[in-house]
Symmetry: C2
Subunit: 209 residues, 2 copies
Amino acid sequence: MTAPTERRRGRGRPPGARGTGGARDAILAAARRRFAEDGYGRATVRAVARDAGVDPALVIHYFGSKADLFAAAVDLPVSPSDVVERLTAVPVDRLGEAVVRAALALWGEPGTLDAWVGLVRAAMADEAAAASLRDFVTNAIVEPLVARLDGVGVADGPLRGTLVASQVVGLGVARHIVGLEPLASLGGDGLVAAYAPTLQRYLTGPLTA
Amino acid sequence: MTAPTERRRGRGRPPGARGTGGARDAILAAARRRFAEDGYGRATVRAVARDAGVDPALVIHYFGSKADLFAAAVDLPVSPSDVVERLTAVPVDRLGEAVVRAALALWGEPGTLDAWVGLVRAAMADEAAAASLRDFVTNAIVEPLVARLDGVGVADGPLRGTLVASQVVGLGVARHIVGLEPLASLGGDGLVAAYAPTLQRYLTGPLTA
């Protein structure tokens, strides 16, 4: 649908690339097999490294973390570390708006939307893919949010993080998969106005009646 | 997973049933073909009746409306009319809580959850199924909500209805397909406390910053 960008190509899977990319490609191939067979939660960087015939340190050198390795393996053109960085820079009382804007920014980048939609579709069709998506969302998105909330003494972080995830996933599905109008055509400012207060309450507001 | 209830059997597809059920089965078979080929929006009761070799009045007699015919054709054990009835009986300022409770009640009925999950999964995998789900949600859920809001002079009904749908769908996906914990294990009162204020604001609150 969209032409691969330089950035995407760097994280993607160049067919048959060899030479300096050989170890990197072998790691990605091993990671895809491990994540598919073991699921995200049970797959380990150590096992991927062993399968690829390299040192675990080389996997970390190339990809940074298990979450980032997963993002590269499923061809997500945005790394979880980038998301976490965006959310670390804002004050906690603006985090709701920051999450909405981060989601819109990610979906708006070339190639990203297709990759996310593909990942969500796979998760709907297949239990193993659903488990991978669950563990990935938990480790890469929910846990960093929980850490932010812990840092300022907000309780119920895990529940708050999954409430946020339920609205962000629902927004993505409603807009980009089911195509519910007029929501699907609503601009960025309208989406922030509608969803930021919801996410802010999930993150720092009262959760009991 | 769950044994079919009497009610479900009545709406389902008894294999090879004939006799008094012949016309009803022929209508259901024709409806499944029409919804699959034309999508929910373009399929008509008239065309289904013609394909089944019966009068359109007989289709309405058996199934009540196009939305209810669709629910029967995809084997949903709950009719949209039931949902609308539940939401018509409550005051507008309690509608958010009523929508949460209606969704939880539907998901909790025997056989219903499997049917919904199957429908959402089909919609993720296939554009035609996604179009059917979109039109069905719009006609059977969003439009009745919009009519309620119109009746009390609340503007932006269509956007409000789709905002509600985005959170309800996201909650269903997070709990029942992706299985995000601790959200997936949260009890009914906790879910109402978390989500009712969100849906109430989407329905009757301010949507601009």
